[in-house]
């Protein structure tokens, strides 16, 4: 365990933990957009700035800085607050419609940005380029269907050539993880439309109720987990019903249910 001091409070966390975790453990709420516990540290949004005051002086992003024994950290030093506020002002200017950013800014005492709206095309922008969608798709799902395109001010996220993606499995993890709700996904009949990625995937119908629910590209999972082949074909609702039914009938017959009854 590593012991450090955050805003005067002593905290102990395991070796290798990032400072942000320790800060949260100390009960301090820092804004962050690009950090997620399922993903490696990234350090792109630059919101979780804190000052290390001892044994050396440094302004660092808490999400990407590993804890060290004896660190003394101030989360609301003048320089950290100033940096955070400017970052938020620029993010407000980039995404003027984002409620998430506005609320974060309000919690830092900001009601508006001095920088206006960065450009007219930017008016409806919600993406802060935190990269969570890119990373979850690549590092957790393993599909790597989307990535950054362009650099600097032209940077954005998309599928290759911004055309229909062959790699997208339509899982929707990107939309789920997006902190600002910038990714639009819609289920329409037997199709799942991933508007942001110009991609459409087919949905499979549940053999019980006939509702479309599962993206066709993930059907390969049936092969990976063969013992539950049938359970993959049912929609979650029918699956629950079936399991409950089987459990009840097992109870009625005085049998011990193994949980594998469906295979």
């Amino acid at each position: 365990m590593v012991t450090l001091t955050i805003n005067g409070k002593t905290v102990s966390v395991p070796q290798g933990t990032m400072l942000l975790k320790a800060v949260q453990k100390a009960g301090v709420d820092l804004p962050t957009l690009c950090d997620h516990e399922a993903l490696a540290p990234y350090g792109a949004c630059r919101l979780c700035m804190v000052t290390i005051t001892s044994p050396y002086h440094a302004l660092v992003t808490a999400c990407a800085y590993p804890v060290e024994e004896g660190l003394v950290v101030e989360t609301h030093s003048q320089e950290a607050v100033r940096s955070r506020r400017l970052t938020l002002e620029f993010l407000m200017s980039r995404c003027p419609q984002s409620d998430v950013i506005r609320k974060m800014a309000e919690s830092e005492g900001l009601t508006s940005s001095r920088f206006g709206v960065s450009s007219p095309e930017q008016r409806d922008e919600l993406c802060v380029l935190c990269g969570l969608c890119v990373r979850v798709c690549r590092d957790v799902i393993g599909a790597a269907a989307i990535d950054f395109i362009g650099r600097g001010k032209k940077r954005k996220v998309g599928a290759p050539f911004q055309l229909q993606s062959d790699s997208c499995i339509g899982c929707g993890a990107c939309a789920e993880i997006c902190p600002t709700g910038a990714i639009k996904i819609e289920d329409r009949g037997d199709k799942r439309i991933l508007h942001t990625w110009n991609t459409i995937v087919e949905l499979c119908a549940c053999p019980e109720c006939g509702n479309f629910f599962s993206p066709e590209p993930i059907a390969f999972l049936k092969e990976i987990v063969p013992q539950s082949k049938k359970s993959w074909e049912l929609c979650p609702r029918c699956r629950h019903q079936k399991i409950s039914h089987q459990w009840l009938s097992a109870q009625n017959r005085g049998l011990r249910w193994t949980g594998r009854a469906m295979a």
Partner: protein, 628 residues
């Protein structure tokens, strides 16, 4: 021929010496990219053709950069028993004349820049020398220089391993592999005081030590040759002029940290550098100085070239590593540092071209020798490309601790065309502009950082009274804005906004509040960005705000550009007393803004004029004036 022992290196040395000091004349033309751009290839061809015609027997050599860019193309002529002279500003025609004189056994004085003294040679017979030609170390341009990194540059054929060996090459390698333990090598580098020549100045020995004691093998060695600063060409020149010095340094580094694989990451815009380093690698393999069991020491090492696609941010070490791995060139947060987790998650030592070239010099001559050069804490030499509005431009290598004044007024010989030097920009787009008032500062890592600039990789751009500092800041910021990868918010959004403010200022729409805001955002980008690119991106802005605030004020308060550069803030006019009505400006004006009868004074219609300055530049009478 495979070299397995030190004595076999000696054989290579003998061959090399016979190449360097042949019995017949040896004529070397500086043919690095800089020389080629100045027309060296045509000079080389003219020399060969003329010699063929005259039946003159000589050894033609295309050597690397001789350094004195202002005097390119340069030709180094060595006549046995007669002397050795460096000829400057050659043209094919002059080359033919020169060859004519040489063929009758004469070293002519025309276009001779300096004599190059050689040990044991008698130059009394050379009329050019006896008529007062200075020797090369008497020229102010070369007098302050101390060449370690550039020790072979312009002297050897970069494609000849024999000549490299003849100049003491691979002595270091022999000593390191056969006489020293890896830890001894690291200690030697540590004691020498060598610091990273990429710009940050991290102690090289410390970096190697950390890498050696990180996770077990495999470990990797990388040479960072992704140079991309505007106005900088040090790394390219070293690669083009002396590739073996880098290869040797990398083998020693690999031995020291316990790595068997090295990569040279070089941008694809440097085709000649790639060609020469590839040739160096192939030839080293051929003679057994790369590959398995080098010099019978049991140590294996190989080097591979990785060509970068020209993103400036790939010069940042973590982005460079991502690029080698096949990802897009984006930095990641440090720690962990590459010494701990670098290429493919393995311990990696990454150093600049000039650092590797220094290593191969240090191990041969020892730490004590190297640390005696330069100043305490800033040992050794550093290479600069001295460019801009300075009389002597060129590639120079000086001991650390030399003052900016000695650099600009001594080596550079002051402003171009006698103009007054106003500032110097070190470190390229990551550096800052230092005013003439600070030219007493020594060139070392700490002094430059304290003054608001950085040492950087070696760009040194001189500016004179005709340079607008706001315009310069805008130029460099535009560069970093375009090259920002866009990963982190401050660098991506901040540089764009600052560029917008600077554009407003140079267009005469800036306000005093803009200047205050510029400083605030600049400090934020510097403090909060993820990597070195963003952390230094505002240096040109912050340093000009610090030292040339009056120029910003003139732009925003008086709507005036004191240097007469910013188009929106100047007017062009013709002085009637000076104009002789030649009509040149009228013909050349792209918008037809100039009227006037022949032989009568002309005038400029301010409404039509776009202030392109064509008339100002071409007027033979100097009658066009910039009204500031």
């Amino acid at each position: 021929m495979k070299i397995r022992t030190l004595s076999e290196i000696e054989k290579l040395r003998d061959i090399g010496l016979s190449f360097l000091y042949p019995q017949r004349p040896r004529i070397s033309v500086g043919m690095a990219t800089c020389g080629l751009a100045a027309g060296a290839a045509a000079v080389f061809d003219a020399l060969s053709e003329e010699a063929d015609r005259l039946g003159f027997d000589f050894t033609p050599v295309s050597t690397g950069c001789i350094g004195y860019c202002r005097q390119e193309p340069l030709v180094d002529v060595r006549m046995p028993d007669l002397g050795r002279i460096l000829y400057a500003q050659m043209t094919p025609e002059r080359a033919r004349d020169l060859m004519g004189a040489l063929s009758v056994g004469e070293l002519p004085a025309e276009h001779a820049l300096a004599s190059i003294p050689e040990e044991g040679s008698d130059v009394s017979k050379c009329s050019a020398v006896s008529s007062g030609l200075p020797s090369i170390d008497q020229l102010p341009f070369y007098a302050h220089q101390h060449k370690i990194i550039l020790r072979n540059s312009g002297l050897i054929d970069p494609c000849s391993i024999e000549e490299y060996v003849a100049r003491g090459g691979f002595d270091s390698l022999g000593r390191a592999l056969l006489k020293l333990s890896p830890q001894d090598v690291i200690d030697e580098i540590t004691q020498s005081g060598l610091r990273g020549r990429g710009g940050a100045g991290f102690p090289t020995g410390k970096k190697w030590n950390a890498c050696r004691h990180a996770a077990p093998k495999p470990r990797y060695v990388i040479c960072n040759a992704d140079e991309g600063d505007p106005g900088a060409y040090m790394d390219r020149t070293v690669l083009e002029s002396d590739p073996y010095s880098i290869i040797e340094g990398m083998i020693i580094g690999g031995y020291a940290i316990g790595s068997n694989k090295g990569f040279v990451y070089v941008r694809d815009e440097y085709p000649l550098a790639i060609e020469r380093i590839q040739h160096g690698i192939d030839r080293s393999k051929e003679v057994g100085l790369l590959g398995d069991d080098i010099l019978g020491s049991g140590f294996d090492f190989s080097v591979e070239i990785v060509r970068g696609a020209g993103a400036f941010v790939c010069g940042e070490e973590t982005a460079l590593i991502a690029s080698i791995e096949g990802g897009s060139g984006e930095p990641r947060p440090r720690p962990p540092y590459p010494a701990e987790k670098g290429l493919w998650g393995r311990p990696t030592t990454i150093n600049n071209v000039k650092t590797w070239a220094s290593v191969s010099a240090i191990v041969a001559k020892g730490a004590e020798w190297y640390s005696s050069i330069g100043t305490k804490g800033n040992a050794g030499t550093v290479v600069f490309s001295l460019v801009g509005k300075v009389a002597n431009t060129g590639l120079v290598e000086v001991p650390l601790g030399l003052t900016l004044k000695e650099m600009i007024e001594g080596i550079g010989n002051g402003g171009l065309d006698g103009k007054v030097v106003k500032a110097v920009q070190t470190g390229g787009p990551s550096g800052g502009c230092l005013p003439a008032g600070l030219f007493h500062l020594p060139i070392d890592y700490e002094s430059l950082t304290q003054a608001g600039s950085i040492m950087g990789s070696g760009g040194m751009v001189v500016m004179d009274e005709d340079t607008c500092m706001v315009d310069v800041a805008r130029y460099f910021l535009n560069f970093t804005m375009e090259e920002s990868c866009g990963k982190c918010t401050p660098c991506r959004e901040g540089t764009q906004y600052m560029y917008g403010i600077l554009t407003r200022i140079v267009e005469g729409r800036g306000t005093p509040e803009d200047v205050v805001l510029l400083e605030e955002i600049g400090n934020w980008v510097k403090a909060s960005s993820l990597c070195g690119l963003g952390q230094t991106a505002s240096n040109p802005v912050l340093s000009t705000l610090r030292y040339f605030r009056d120029e910003y004020d003139a732009h925003v308060r008086e709507k005036r550009c004191p240097a007469g550069v910013c188009r929106a803030l100047i007017q062009l006019s013709i002085t009637p007393e000076l104009c002789n009505g030649c009509g040149l400006c009228k013909r050349e004006c792209p918008v037809g803004a100039i009227q006037g009868e022949k032989k009568e004074p002309h005038s400029i219609d301010a409404k039509l004029c776009t202030r392109c300055r064509t008339c100002y530049d071409i007027c033979p009478q100097g009658a066009v004036k910039i009204v500031r």
